[in-house]
């Protein structure tokens, strides 16, 4: 099996528009039939590495190459992108950008069409590929009729139909809810086992990928390869942490408990791992963590009662939902894509009018408030900052809402400056927005809402697609807002880590109904709820069970508290 299929030798690449090379002196060999995970923080060069493999470098992204790269005996920059596309099939991160066909069938057929395959043969091959990923009954559907997970499976079928030897997945989990992500990883594993293709996965959500075994993990940082080891070796070391990549939670827990992990104990798979003496250590640690009293919050700021909504008479998208939120809380609303989470937030902000029920803000019914009036009480921040930003300078963007309200210029000046200080953007106030990083742009959009001084902030997937460092940066900022400014924060998310780490309480929505309103730790240790809402249980739960801890929920809570302390102490 040890036949090299991808070989980087002293490979250096510099984008034409940049001064420094993005990839520096890369030496990496991937063998035929291997399944390799490439991890690394944003800006580490891992995407550039994948673009070198599929040929986008240097054909779409121009630059200078030094050194050697051989893929199945070919040199990509000599072979050309078309020849490379026969060898390497890429599944891109953005499921809508990748889906270029009007229907599922056409999209899967796209490569074959470009290759002038006859229609009869094409239909057969498309059907077979669709069947492998389980979308063969959807061939006539349009992309708008599909869920994110289904679109991704169509993309997989679209590259498998060509029969490439290498499949490259660029952040396959970025847009999926936890259960769908698990399914995607299973599917990749199945493809790998059945087809013996070489699989390369680029992803920073390590724990979710490791749900199924990989042969090797390559860690990329600062344009170089800092580790190229087996999963067991990587998890036994501290390499991940040092380079800003999140370890699986059970690994962190074991390390907190003082366990010396070795590759012999097989830490890559919790269920197969030899815990031995670790069990005792984990139990002792569990006993030693003090649980702090939770702050008691009394005054209610938002109350939703018996809220229902449907676009037509037949189907209710939101059905009889009731909950209440206390002033100063930070909570999550979770559930699978299309469960009704976004509709719920639209109802709260007044974008949609409920068919039944009430929304009380500070005890007052909001039904007669306009969208604009509600915005001064409840602000909503959309997932993609690029969909909100309409000015080129930071100050103008933040002032927009105040100018629209006819606020006096001196007041605007002061409120904008204050808000920029709170958001840590004051020093950049005269910068054009495009000079900012994604995380900073996100903060600009938050600032542009905060300037209206709402008491509640709703954020839709605030950290989608962000690496651990940016994730932490955004979430710590929100925590600070919550603690220091007393702003109530509602997060709409399907990121289980986020929900566990930053919100004490979670509201779970499934099929338009509220199925659970409880502490995050107990939600993620409740199998029934997890299944209904397409969530994924936390590995901490399994660890607790394996260590014979009688109350896994408390274990999870203590871990989170301990982890918060460790991380806030640097």
């Amino acid at each position: 099996m040890k036949n090299p299929i991808i070989q980087f030798e002293n490979y250096t690449f510099k984008y034409r528009t940049q001064k420094e090379p993005t990839l520096k002196n890369i030496n990496l060999t991937i063998y035929e039939g291997e399944k390799v995970l490439i991890v690394g923080p944003s800006g580490s060069g891992k995407s550039t590495l994948s673009n070198c493999i599929n040929g986008l470098v240097p054909f779409s992204y121009k630059g200078d190459i030094k050194g050697k790269l051989t893929i199945k005996g070919k040199t990509p920059h000599k072979a050309g992108i078309f020849e490379m596309s026969q060898i390497v099939g890429t599944v891109l991160q953005d499921p809508d950008g990748q889906f270029v066909g009007l229907t599922v069938g056409e999209d899967i057929a796209f490569s074959l069409e470009n290759d002038c395959v006859k229609q009869v043969e094409m239909k057969e091959r498309v059907y077979q590929a669709a069947k492998t990923v389980g979308v063969h009954e959807l061939l006539r559907h349009s992309p708008q009729e599909l869920s994110g997970g289904q679109k991704q499976r169509v993309s997989m079928a679209g590259v498998m139909v060509v029969g490439c030897d290498i499949l490259l997945f660029d952040e396959p989990l970025a847009n999926l809810d936890p259960a769908t992500g698990k399914y995607a990883i299973d599917l990749i594993d199945k493809i790998h086992n059945e087809s013996k293709k070489t699989i390369i996965i680029i992803e920073h959500r390590l724990e979710d990928v490791l749900y199924r075994d990989v042969d090797r993990i390559v860690v990329v940082a600062n344009g170089g390869i800092v580790a190229d080891l087996t999963t067991d070796e990587i998890l036994s070391s501290n390499i991940l942490k040092e380079h800003g990549i999140r370890e699986p939670l059970y690994i962190s827990a074991l390390k907190y408990a003082g366990c010396q992990l070795k590759k012999e104990s097989k830490p890559s798979n919790l269920n197969k791992m030899e815990l031995g003496a670790f069990q005792c250590a984990v139990r002792d640690w569990y006993q030693s963590v003090d649980i702090k009293e939770k702050e008691n919050m009394n005054s209610e700021i938002l109350k939703v009662s018996n809220l229902s909504f449907g676009y037509d008479d037949q189907v209710e998208v939101v059905s009889d939902i009731s909950f209440s939120i206390k002033k100063g809380e930070m909570i999550s609303i979770v559930g699978k894509n299309g469960a009704g989470k976004s509709t719920l937030s639209k109802l709260i902000c007044g974008f949609q009018t409920p068919t039944k029920g009430m929304i009380l803000y500070d005890g007052q019914d909001m039904i007669s408030d306009s969208i604009k009036e509600r915005a001064e009480k409840i602000g909503i921040v959309m997932q993609n900052p690029n969909q909100m930003i309409s000015k080129s300078m930071i100050k103008e963007e933040v002032a927009l809402g105040l100018i629209a309200r006819g606020v006096a210029p001196e007041v605007i000046e002061k409120r904008v400056d204050d808000t920029l200080r709170i958001c840590g953007l004051y020093q950049y106030r005269n910068w054009p927005i495009q000079a900012l990083s994604f995380g900073q742009k996100k903060r600009v959009t938050i600032a542009s809402i905060l300037v209206l001084q709402p008491k509640i902030l709703i954020l839709d997937e605030p950290t989608a697609g962000q690496d651990f460092r940016h994730y932490t940066e955004i979430m710590e900022f929100l925590k600070k807002l919550n603690k220091e400014q007393g702003i109530t924060i509602i997060l709409i998310t399907h990121d289980m880590h986020l929900m566990l780490e930053y919100t004490d309480r979670a509201i779970v929505i499934a099929d338009g109904k509220l199925i659970e309103d409880n502490s995050s730790a107990s939600v993620l240790t409740n199998r029934d709820i997890i299944e209904k809402a397409s969530l994924k249980e936390t590995s901490l739960y399994d660890l607790a069970l394996r260590c014979d801890i009688d109350n896994p929920t408390t274990f999870v809570e203590r871990f989170i508290q301990y982890d918060r302390e460790v991380r806030s102490n640097g």
């Binding site: 054909f59 779409s60 080129s392 020093q427 950049y428 005269n430 910068w431 054009p432 495009q434 000079a435």
Partner: protein, 183 residues
């Protein structure tokens, strides 16, 4: 096929989609009934200026034809053709600029607006009325008045929205090396 050709296909496709939808984002002038500032014209000008005559012409032609058919149940060829011609003229003219390199200063802004005025006049005061007369045998004074009104409104729209849009894009694309943090 070169990379730029593939990018053109994607640009025509997505540009056309946006052009069609922007039909619905027209701004009523208010004081004259039934007159609107067509944001889609500003968008077409912008796209033609960035991607050149082929993309500009195609978006204008396809976008206008599909929008006509799907909103108004017919295709008014006498107005579809000038829209395509408009995109082509702007595209040819803008080939000289380096908008993507941040080169959209005062001189370019003036030239850009001269170009759009000329293109609007050719499209709506020359081609469209002539086609209306030839195809529909409509009265000359009526179609010229109609064309002149459209041209005027389009010129205003492009002068405002088109210019700001293009300037903003040029800024986004240009490098920002002279930035420093302030206290």
């Amino acid at each position: 096929m070169k990379k730029s050709d593939i990018r053109s296909v994607a640009a025509i496709g997505i540009g056309t989609a946006l052009f069609i939808l922007l039909t619905l984002a027209a701004i009523p002038v208010g004081f004259i009934p039934n007159t609107q500032l067509q944001t889609r014209v500003a968008f077409l000008t912008f796209m033609s200026a960035i991607f050149g005559p082929v993309v500009g012409g195609a978006i204008g032609f396809l976008g206008h034809a599909i929008a006509d058919a799907s909103f108004y149940g017919g295709v008014w060829w006498s107005w579809v053709i000038p829209e395509g011609v408009y995109g082509i003229i702007i595209g040819i003219f803008a080939l000289k600029f380096k908008i993507e390199d941040g080169g959209f200063g005062l001189k370019e802004t003036v030239l850009f607006n001269i170009a759009q005025v000329v293109a609007n006049i050719i499209a709506w005061i020359v081609i469209a009325p002539i086609l209306d007369i030839v195809i529909y045998a409509e009265p000359a004074n009526k179609v010229f008045a109609q064309g002149a009104t459209s041209a005027l409104l389009n010129i205003i729209t492009v002068a405002i929205i088109g210019t700001i849009l293009t300037k903003a894009y040029s800024k986004v694309k240009s490098k920002t090396s002279s930035l420093s943090v302030e206290d």
